[in-house]
Symmetry: C2
Subunit: 289 residues, 2 copies
């Protein structure tokens, strides 16, 4: 199938690679062109100087960029993908962005008979590199059914949650859960360290019961050792939490703990932790006298 | 082995039963005597009118009561177990209580050459009824080695964390983790419901990734359906969080989210939820207009 991939960040780069390895014809676009040159060399592929030119002639176009503004620019902008797309084509946005934007894009693209899915990812850089991402999609069922087999090459699970925007909302549910789990774990480990407990023994004792979590299993050791130079960056987590808090506000939902943890992440940024992993909430506690 | 079990609540009642079924000679004591009568009938056992008399002649004495004051009363009180215990006997306290009390008891019992373990439980009522509890112990290694084979009949995992009090501290670590996980999950599900998402599909999509937790797997459905008449009561959770906050204060640890969640539980109590399961934090959010 003829595809275009717009945005070769830590997620998009390997994802576009999986499309190529699955036998699809891939044309890439990236704002910083050195990245697309590197990609073309690695995968013997093609690049285009604008999103519109990358999208021209594609059956399906993928975007995976930074935030709402970036998505708007690469899709609806002067040189946006929409200008290269024909009727019947599908656009899949893998960026974590607002549900409002997803609904706006579906409407704008429908005017050109282009199908749309908001399809944010979970699984992080490791998931993208191993082709084991989880995808939460929003959009029409017929669009989903056509796009799903193409996305299979980089995903272990792809779920259509509901109409446009619901993929993004599901991602917000995911991030709100993580905010609570990580802050709880951070306070618990901080408590254990200040009390001079044998942390590995404590984790051994509690890790099979009601306190168990993916974060406990995968992060207790790095958190105990103050290792944060990896994983999902605090800057990105704050972007996601800002979207969650804004959507909650519009739907009349109350997210007090989420708002508190977002402020804690702001303090981690002040400590110099903008690029640290989400688990660095404990660094803020440990920094206190 | 000759044992005594003091406190036949929802945890102690089946635990004493497992001791009896394992072939131990068990004498029980319970403040409300109808419970001990019922237990004696069910297990063809013996009861005593005071903790001291229950403990007389026992090789190992177990206590599982309400709070610090209750523990002090049944062990050190006028008719407390200590008055019936000979040198070389072991006392295991399964109550979730303060670490300070654990250290105090170890000292008091050592004067009579009685060994002590603080050994709080996790696994809840179901774990007690199935003999699948998790036990976090604090105390001397020789005491632990003698008590462990006896506790095996009602536990799936028994860990010696460190010296007296460290079993209680490990339990606090467990409860702080749970506070964060449950509040995060409550906000996430509340957000999903207010946004009218397909909650089962969202959970299906996110339950294998970085947001995964025991609480998500075991509580998302009851939380979504506002079912709280089961499990670990809010009153008990608040007792445990109060201990955690007090111990944190003494050790110079900062537990802001835990303190916030404790206040949220106070609001659940005001809604009439004192006996509701810990997962009822969502009821408070759903009660908002």
């Amino acid at each position: 199938m003829k595809t275009a991939f717009i945005g070769l960040g830590v997620m998009g780069y390997p994802m576009a690679g999986y499309l190529s390895k699955a036998g699809h014809d891939v044309t890439v676009y990236n704002r910083t062109s050195s990245k697309s040159e590197q990609w073309c060399k690695e995968y013997d592929g093609a690049s285009a100087p604008t999103p519109a030119e990358a999208a021209a002639g594609a059956d399906i176009v993928f975007t995976c960029v930074g935030n709402d503004d970036d998505v708007r620019e690469v899709i609806l902008g002067e040189q946006g993908a929409i200008r290269g797309m024909a009727a019947g084509v599908i656009l899949v946005d893998h960026t974590t962005a607002s549900a409002k934007l997803a609904r706006e894009l579906e409407t704008a693209l429908a005017e050109k008979s282009v199908g749309f899915l908001d399809a944010p990812l979970s699984g992080g850089q490791a998931g993208a590199e191993n082709g084991q991402l989880t995808i939460m999609a929003g959009g029409k069922e017929e669009t989903f059914e056509r796009a799903q087999p193409v996305m299979d090459c980089y995903a272990k699970a792809i779920t259509l949650i509901g109409p446009a925007g619901h993929g993004q909302m599901a991602k917000m549910v995911n991030q709100v859960c993580i905010a609570g789990v990580v802050q709880g774990l951070a306070e618990a480990l901080h408590f254990a360290k200040r009390a001079e407990l044998d942390v590995p023994k404590v984790i051994e004792a509690i890790s099979k019961g009601a306190a168990q979590s993916w974060q406990m299993e995968n992060r207790w050791q790095t958190m105990s050792n103050d290792e944060f130079e990896f994983g999902f960056a605090v800057d990105w987590m704050r972007k996601d939490l800002a979207i969650a808090l804004e959507e909650a506000n519009q739907n009349g939902a109350t997210l007090e703990m989420t708002a508190l943890v977002d402020r804690f992440y702001a303090e981690v940024q002040e400590l110099g932790g903008s690029r640290w992993d989400t688990s660095s909430l404990i660094a803020r506690l440990e920094s206190k006298p």
